[in-house]
Amino acid sequence: MPPDSGVMANTGEILAVRGLNVSYGASKVLFDVGLSVAPRQIVACVGRNGAGKSTLLKSIAGFLKPDSGAISSGPTRLVGLKSYEIARMGIKYIPQDKKVFSDLTVRENLELGSYASKDYNWDRITDYFPRLKQLMDRKGGYLSGGERQMLMIGRALLGSPKVLLVDEPAEGLAPSIVAHLKDVFGELSKNTTLVLVEQNLPLVCAIASKVYGLKEGRIVAKLADRESIKPDVCERYL
């Protein structure tokens, strides 16, 4: 039986996925996937390209409709809710492609996030990412990959989300920015739960308190103690 599959939700869970099956047309991508995420935990999913990591996050975020299975946050069932309804509940998805609204400035991008979440306090965001302060009037299309990632994370932080679903945050970024993200994620986890999909094992092993190994759409391993979360162990699932 896959880890966490078919098990009743723990009372302390902020996000629970049970027996999730997802297909793209006739092609099945996720098979009976289960996750259990506690509040203020950093949970990482590692796996090769095509293992179904992004599909898992998109399904939680309401962007994909599962064939079967359950996704819940506390007492609320997420399957069947629209993606914007899930976002309003405080479960924010940060996609992999690092594309912000290119024709809008950084300020306008943040304003969009502020209006939706009714949170107009940007101090926390600029504390995490001081660089954004200098870029407020620059259009999204003229930002570097790292700056766009900062903006996407900063924008998602508005409204103090309870869960951040972050899809490959370190992909294509310079090591110095990845190091900065590592610190930011560490800080964020004091108040927010993070579910990361990532192939950067040093980052995962530095911050994650639980790691799921995904292979060909199935959860094949769960590393739940810090001692076992090591790059050489995680590498087996890449």
Binding site: A61, F63, K82, S83, Y84, A87, R88, K92, Y93, I94, P95, K99, V100, F101, S102, D103, L104, T105, V106, E108, E111, L112, G113, Y115, A116, S117, M136, D137, R138, K139, Y142, R155, A156, G159
Partner: protein, 328 residues
């Protein structure tokens, strides 16, 4: 702040020029430019901000025009009330079809709107001929009562009224452009999924944009009805469906002044060229092909960066300025 002041001054300058043009251009021409620019504003907003091309604008124009015409022909004589009825008619039609249409992809959206224009045409020409008087149309010019202060049943007073309405419409769209809603519209055009991830419903953003744009179109229809004192099915003729799209592209898609510039250029060319050659649409066709091949910016889209450079030339253009200004 300075940027905002500059744009408001720009708006006033543009409309001052339009008002001044009344001194040396024929009244019917400037009246048509003003109404056409309002007609195009909704189409430009849909295409430039939301990313929806609509070939069915004559349907919403007709909703406004016939709403006004029915009131003035059958029920009352006050043209202001007639215009209000026209606006409400457009609001009702877009409120009924909007929830269905905005779910469609942009290409199907264009076609379903064209289909609506065809439906309206045949409804007004044949199915409802008993009340629309078919091709003969509804004549109510002499039924309109004089109104105090601005007697809009007279062309010269109508120009002042239409001019003020156009100014208000422009100010409203300028406000929309700068608002969160304007940013949402642009965001849904750029990447609809990401807007949902922020907690917005694409459907609601598009529906509201659709209703606003087409109610503006209906307002233009109501103004046409009062100005001409006559409405016939020709106003919703499908072969005139591309007109607002052509004027939008000609002026500069999604730009604030594009509809005004486009309406001026289109109406001007139509008037001038049609006196020289019979098939003036042929010239417009070639011009559009040229504009597309030259970078799809339209007249205002091409002039704007040059004018900005001219007026703010000596200032160092920071990245900050680039970001804020390039939206216009």
């Amino acid at each position: 702040m300075m940027n905002a002041i500059r744009w408001w001054w720009g708006l006033l300058l543009a409309f001052s020029l339009l008002a001044a043009s009344r001194a040396f251009l024929p009244l019917p021409f400037v009246n048509e430019v003003v109404i056409f620019s309002i007609y195009t504003m909704g189409c430009s907003f849909l295409l430039g901000r939301v990313g929806f091309i609509s070939f069915g604008q004559p349907a919403y124009l007709a909703a406004g025009a016939y709403g006004t015409a029915f009131y003035l022909f059958y029920f009352g004589t006050d043209p202001y009330v007639g215009i209000l009825v026209g606006i409400l008619s457009g609001l009702a039609v877009s409120g009924i079809v909007g929830p269905l249409f905005v779910r469609l992809r942009s290409d199907y959206f264009a076609l379903v709107n064209l289909a609506l224009a065809v439906i309206f045409y045949y409804l007004m020409q044949k199915v409802l001929a008993d009340i629309t008087k078919g091709d003969n149309g509804l004549w109510f010019l002499t039924r309109m009562s004089s109104t105090p202060v601005l007697d809009i049943s007279t062309p010269s007073h109508f120009f002042v009224f239409a001019f003020l309405v156009a100014l208000a419409v422009w100010a409203f769209y300028k406000y929309l452009d700068d608002s969160i809603f304007g940013a949402c519209c642009l965001a849904t055009k750029i990447n609809e999924d990401k807007l949902e991830f922020l907690g917005y419903s694409n459907y609601r953003v598009r529906l509201l944009a659709f209703i606003i744009a087409n109610t503006t179109t209906a307002l233009a229809g109501a103004l046409y009805a009062v100005y001409l004192g006559f409405v016939s099915p020709e106003i919703t003729s499908p072969h005139r469906a591309p007109d607002p799209v052509v004027v939008t592209i000609l002026g500069g898609t999604g730009t604030l002044y594009g509809p005004l510039v486009g309406a001026f250029a289109y109406t001007g060319m139509k008037d001038v060229i049609s006196k020289l050659i019979g098939n003036w649409e042929l010239f417009i066709g070639f011009l559009l092909v040229f504009i597309m091949l030259a970078g799809e910016k339209g007249i205002w889209g091409t002039l704007q960066p040059r004018l900005e450079k001219l007026f703010s030339g000596r200032k160092d253009r920071t990245a900050a300025g680039d970001g804020a200004e390039a939206r216009r």
